[in-house]
Symmetry: C2
Subunit: 116 residues, 2 copies
DNA sequence: CGGGATCCGTGCCGATACTG
DNA sequence: CAGTATCGGCACGGATCCCG
């Protein structure tokens, strides 16, 4: 846990900045909870993600090797997503972070509200 | 680890979205590694954060109760920052996430590069 | 059904100048 | 030294339309 600074273009920043976008963690948690899922099932489960952002998020995760995308040559088309082994290895860390957030969010939200 | 969906305005999203911004994690890691620090020391350590963004990030962290800000009535002024207990309790989870990133970033970056 | 393509608004963030 | 204030670019993300 030294300096991720200095060395310009720190790779850790790149990797973590992807996880930090609006939908990535939510998609990962959803896939972890439900296993293999179809596109529209993910969308319905999350509820308020647009079609476009779900597509973009899934593509990024696929590129990074955290999920796999399986296309079935059928009509109507069927596409299934699930976590890779790398993706699974990430989940405990996400979950521990979510656990922390659940434990402390009351304090944090009350602090924010009485600060305007 | 159920549904953070559905309930509109999920608090977990609020809490994690703050951690997901460009500088928050880096500031936390920096404070964890160095203990109590002055404003300009944090800035020099991170290297490429602007004065404005460091101020904004520190204010958010202070509002959320993750760091404390101590002002000394001196000339020239001196302001010191360090983690609160709540802030410290978050760090193991951040560090485990960074550890994961360090372990897998080579795979991820190479996958990205050969994908354009 | 599972997208792709396009347009566009909002907000994040950087650069710069100024202050106690 | 440690900020505040202001301006502005640009990327993120939403809405809509179209396609195989």
């Amino acid at each position: 846990m030294e300096n991720f600074h200095r060395m310009d273009a720190c790779p850790v920043r790149d990797v973590l900045s992807r996880l930090g976008d609006k939908w990535t963690m939510l998609v990962l948690v959803t896939l972890k909870a439900n296993g293999t899922m179809r596109f529209c099932d993910i969308q319905k489960t999350i509820g308020d993600i647009s079609q476009r952002m779900l597509t973009v998020t899934l593509r990024s995760l696929e590129t990074d090797g955290l999920i796999v995308r399986k296309v079935y040559a059928e009509v109507p088309p069927r596409v299934e997503y699930n976590l890779t082994e790398t993706g699974c290895s990430l989940m405990p860390h996400i979950e521990s972070l979510v656990g922390w957030a659940l434990k402390h969010m009351d304090d944090i939200l009350s602090r924010r509200s009485l600060q305007d």
